[in-house]
């Protein structure tokens, strides 16, 4: 039972990262491969403050979000000057740079050795250690992130974001500051990605740079494409599918090392199939900005 609850925690965490990527990329259809980096910034900020100063989650979380936002700002200022696949390449590069900083800045992050001994979250003096407690905590945070993302989508900013994905030039002609709007959504998405990052650090109690590579960004991208870009409900369903279905490999009896590769191949294959299906069915994910 503990294992099932553990999987549920990860479904909720990745569901939150997917929501954050939907805010950053899903509404505007601008694919970003830097989201794992912002997830990592949130995790490392929390881990460093918790282990060095003993600060609680309630202090570290806003600071982690602020740190992610500060990192995302120059990233967005640079990347948003490019378009379409160059934007993707640029964000991929940013993700690689963030990983390099996490892996090589030994004094701050301890590099490949990672940061161990992250204390558990304390709620009214009670340490949250049981799996069912973590499921509840993650669910509460997921609800908060979902509420924020949904309200954003329904707000004036959200309507402009959706309009940009349909016809960016028309939005500009209506006097909308498209560049500023895209910048705001990118930075907000990065800040939201720091929330599951902070929770992840406390949950696993040890983090290292290998959890925040381009592969993680690709995995989260797979989730939002599978769930439908801009579809907030689809994020959780897709996260559940992508995390729970490969777990069936455990019952097939594959060795641990082989199972990891097969899992990655399943992710890649499912992403290719979904992309093919969406282009054939003419789903919203296909629609290029600016098209009539």
């Amino acid at each position: 039972m503990d294992y099932v609850l553990h999987l549920l925690v990860f479904v909720l965490l990745y569901g939150m990262i997917a929501l954050s990527l939907n805010v950053a990329s899903g509404f505007t259809q601008l694919i970003s491969l830097a989201q794992a980096g912002f997830f990592g910034v949130g995790a490392y900020t929390t881990a460093i403050l918790a282990t060095r100063f003993g600060w609680p989650l309630w202090v570290n979380l806003p600071l982690g979000m602020a740190a992610a936002g500060l990192v995302a700002l120059p990233v967005a200022l640079v990347a948003l000057r490019t378009v379409e696949d160059y934007f993707i390449i640029c964000t991929m590069g940013m993700g690689v740079i963030l990983f390099s900083v996490m892996n090589n800045w030994m004094d701050l992050t301890r590099g490949p050795r990672g940061i161990p001994g992250i204390p558990p979250v304390t709620l009214f003096g009670h340490p949250v250690t049981a799996k069912w407690e973590w499921v509840l905590l993650a669910a509460v945070f997921y609800a908060g992130v979902f509420w924020g993302a949904r309200n954003l989508k329904r707000s004036a900013l959200g309507r402009v974001l959706v309009a940009i994905s349909e016809d960016e030039i028309f939005c500009q002609s209506l006097g909308k500051n498209v560049g500023l709007v895209k910048l705001q959504s990118f930075v907000l998405g990065a800040m939201l990605a720091a929330v599951p990052g902070a929770l992840y650090a406390h949950y696993v109690s040890y983090i290292d740079p290998t959890s925040f590579t381009i592969n993680e960004s690709i995995f989260v991208l797979s989730i939002i494409i599978l769930g439908g870009m801009g579809n907030l409900w689809g994020s959780l369903a897709a996260a559940a599918f992508m995390i729970l279905v490969p777990e069936a490999l455990r019952f097939v009896g594959l060795p641990g090392g082989v199972a990891a590769n097969v899992r990655q191949m399943l992710y890649g294959a499912s992403l290719v199939l979904v992309v093919f299906w969406q282009t054939r069915s003419g789903a919203r994910a296909d629609t290029a900005p600016g098209q009539v």
Binding site: F276, T279, D286
Partner: protein, 291 residues
Amino acid sequence: MEQMVFNVLLAASLNLLAAVSFTFVYLPTRAFNIAHAAVSVIGGYACYFAFSRLSLPMPIAMLCAAITSGVVGALIEDAALRRLREQSRSTWVSLVASIALFTVGINLISLLFGDDVKVLGSGSVGSSQSWFGLFFTLPQMVMVAVCALVFTTASLFTQNSNFGRKLIGVAFNPDLAEIFGVHSRRVRLTAVAIGSALGGLTASLAAWDTGLHPGLGFRLLVAGIVTMIISGVGMLRWLLGGAFLLAVAQNAAAYFLDSKWMDAVAFFILIGFLIWKPLGFSGRRLKKVEV
């Protein structure tokens, strides 16, 4: 100092080979193909299999690598990426699919051959050669020589051959090329096959020098993309400047900072060019600048 100059020359040779191979894949399709990394490293492992397991001579093994990569690259292009580009007007669709195919390919390689570094050789440490104080190995000299041959041949081929003119036509104005009777789909497929074959050859040469592992393809891809972008997409000769700039920057980072920052330096250069010189060395306009 002379050794550092040679190291830069070596790095530039590898960057140039990677850029030439990627340019052949990118130019006719105008789509970033991340699966090219997996295609290249598949060629590297084909070379390893032919050389180490079948005991074929290295030139034959590298030919096998080129053929294997060419076939796999052409299959991926025709079966998947071309169809996606035709069905969707969003360029990111084929890019995302290529990323997914890269994930599948790399993990398949890891499954079949493992993640450990494979050595293309007898297993014993060979002695380096020395010439006027410069130290180099046979694989390194072969890499520089092959790079010079490939670059010269590719440049002359694209400028002076019938296929080269068709390739440039399809790359810069596919509709007009079709009107003039050029079979653009066949030209694209052939160019992608050539680029993939060169990618397999590049991975084999790199593997012969420093060892083979699944992550090699992505490193070569990054070098190829960065070199191509900072050179500006156009005639192949402009790739020479980009390759040397990237090699100098990475070796300087390794010398003054640490070699672990080399990957980040490549992307810093890329981003710097995207901001301050978006047209690259050649000045050829890409769709990098926002409308």
